[in-house]
Symmetry: D2
Subunit: 139 residues, 4 copies
């Protein structure tokens, strides 16, 4: 399958993924087929102190890293672990997470993601280990 075919398939898969949609996330790919995940501020994404919950930032990082790596495989990837580093509050700004592929091995992949606010500030970053399973992507 070509990279562009995989991108189309992953965009369709994202539309089937209830959770990121429930959170209001939007997926796209840049010219290098790195995943970008956009998120507008919304009250239901906040923790008790009025800023975006760390779990939302973690979801952005997990999603951007996962889809960036998934472009390189025909199989389903299982997230093994990922780390989320929170650098500054989102403060009501729109957010975009961008993935970066570090390694696409036979059985394991490593990908990173950075979350920037609409004014360019680096809000958070993280990295993930993904296992290449024997399961085909759902169609």
């Amino acid at each position: 399958m070509s990279l562009d075919d995989r991108v189309a398939r992953l965009l369709a898969l994202f539309d089937q993924a209830a959770f990121p949609d429930h959170m209001g996330m939007h997926l796209r790919f840049d010219e290098e087929r790195r995943a970008l995940v956009d998120l507008e501020p919304a009250d239901h994404l906040n923790h008790g102190f009025g800023d975006v919950h760390g779990g939302v930032i973690a979801t952005l990082i997990d999603t951007a890293a996962w889809f960036t790596a998934a472009v390189r495989y025909d199989a389903w990837l299982a997230t093994v672990e990922f780390q989320t580093r929170l650098l500054e509050p989102a403060g009501g700004r729109s957010l975009t997470a961008r993935g970066a592929l570090i390694r696409a091995g036979r059985s394991l992949a490593v990908a990173e993601a950075e979350v920037h606010a609409s004014d360019g500030s680096l809000i958070a970053l993280g990295s993930a280990t993904l296992a290449v399973t024997g399961l085909p992507l759902p169609t």
Copy 2:
């Protein structure tokens, strides 16, 4: 403030936290004042392959670790980083994350959390670094 007063205050704070509520999470504390976060399975929590999204598991870990540490402080804690390890699929089972305090320092705290399914299986675990800010908890 006594530990029990802090527990009451944190339970009220959780009710103000839009995101965990939006996801259907419920907070309680055990006798050692460790936070427990319960989550029932729901379609809107799933990724495209039909199991719970890694971002949901990360939110459980972040929340259980944060509230377990927060019992020890009068100030707001800022999550610096946390790692999420996914061990097996949730497979439609109810989940409970339980926090454990590792260290409550003057400026930094470390807490862990484990996520078990209703049948006792260990689904995920993680750990977090939290910074003690100069901000009081919101009331």
Copy 3:
């Protein structure tokens, strides 16, 4: 191979491992076949501020986690990633890292390790993802 045979084989393997020996580490196993790695304080293990270098603590954690997981496999394990959390200075005390097996899967294992000082203080902790390779252990 029995667990006890594997323990014997791993103790022999440790003796072939130049680096931990170069650092003065000693390996043993407890009754549950968890690896323990002992280290006496020594000037050559210190950073420029006079306490044990973080890289030494990381080596203790990596080694205790790796050998604890390795007891469960006939194959060589490749460390994929590990996190090291430093909680307090060693301050000239003897150190012991003890591993704990979290999951021993077909292709991946997860193990943790805690580093205690001789007076029982928890100095550091960490966790590791290990990949099960197709390579047999060296004999």
Copy 4:
């Protein structure tokens, strides 16, 4: 203190640090004052399977991240946690770790490091949280 004065001071501090020297590491800074740590292959750095021990790679990452962040402060930095990702074996090649500063806050810094082999291959990477202490750098 100017950045160049700090670089000079940190190079002197590295010379006092017994452990990296014991391992044969060499510190330098590039034009952007990012720390580079060089290491030649040596038998005493290896694990039982004949390649560089993960603890050595962790030490390279910790050291490159720490010195890259330390250029921005007059105070001693305490490493809070760091993660090490091992991507491929060193295979007898010379290694160089290069740090990158992500954030230099008032009380916390975040830095990353990549470890490349002499042929340019990315061998490992990692990131660290560092706490700014009230202690001056040793002179």
